[in-house]
Symmetry: C2
Subunit: 122 residues, 2 copies
């Protein structure tokens, strides 16, 4: 089990080259450049496997299909371009709102998404 196939290598490389979170569809399109016969089922199977082995983590943004990004990065948030739909990583986090929680609420984590335009779409 867990063979190193052309498809899996292509998908793994795609993430390293992209430098931003990718959706299954984006993975399919980008990785097809390396393995044109790539099928969507293989993308889903591979994403699932890469998450289980800890290479990827899922990124979920409001109203968006799931994306994946390489694991092991520092706490950060995301930028979603409203025009092209690409997601980028934003370094740093100024959020200090845990103090604003009403009594009785216990914060365990948070998620910040900034919407706007990316450099390519300005």
């Amino acid at each position: 089990m867990e063979r190193s196939t052309r498809q899996r290598r292509a998908i793994r490389e795609t993430f390293l080259e992209a430098g931003r979170p990718l959706s299954p569809q984006e993975v399919l399109e980008l990785a097809k450049r390396k393995v044109p016969s790539l099928g969507l089922a293989t993308v889903y199977r591979t994403l699932k496997g890469l998450v289980e082995e800890g290479f990827l983590i899922p990124v979920v943004l409001p109203g968006e299909p799931p994306r994946y990004e390489p694991a092991g990065r520092e706490h950060h948030h995301h930028f979603l371009c409203r025009l092209c739909g690409k997601v980028y990583e934003l370094l740093g986090c100024d959020l200090a709102l845990e103090g604003h929680l009403p009594p009785g609420f216990l914060a365990e984590g948070h998620e910040v998404t900034v919407f706007g335009r990316c450099p390519e779409c300005t």
Copy 2:
């Protein structure tokens, strides 16, 4: 067109009484207390209408089905209880990360979701 029916009054009241964003399923359950025969299709139709007329606005959180809340509130964010799944409104917003954007990125808005436990689930 746009009649005032028992169902629509019940759904509108449900939002005013709930004081927090509601999903279509939650609306169905809560409004059924007022109109037991209420059907899911009517909930969807009414939500759509209430959004169009400006009474409600959609609230989308990461990985969650859409919710709706009464329109006209100040800028605020949301708290999602990981146990009961209820969403609450958080007043205030300390976010100052627009300054952290890399060059070329233009922010138009943002969305903050805090995950944790609500008072009922502690």
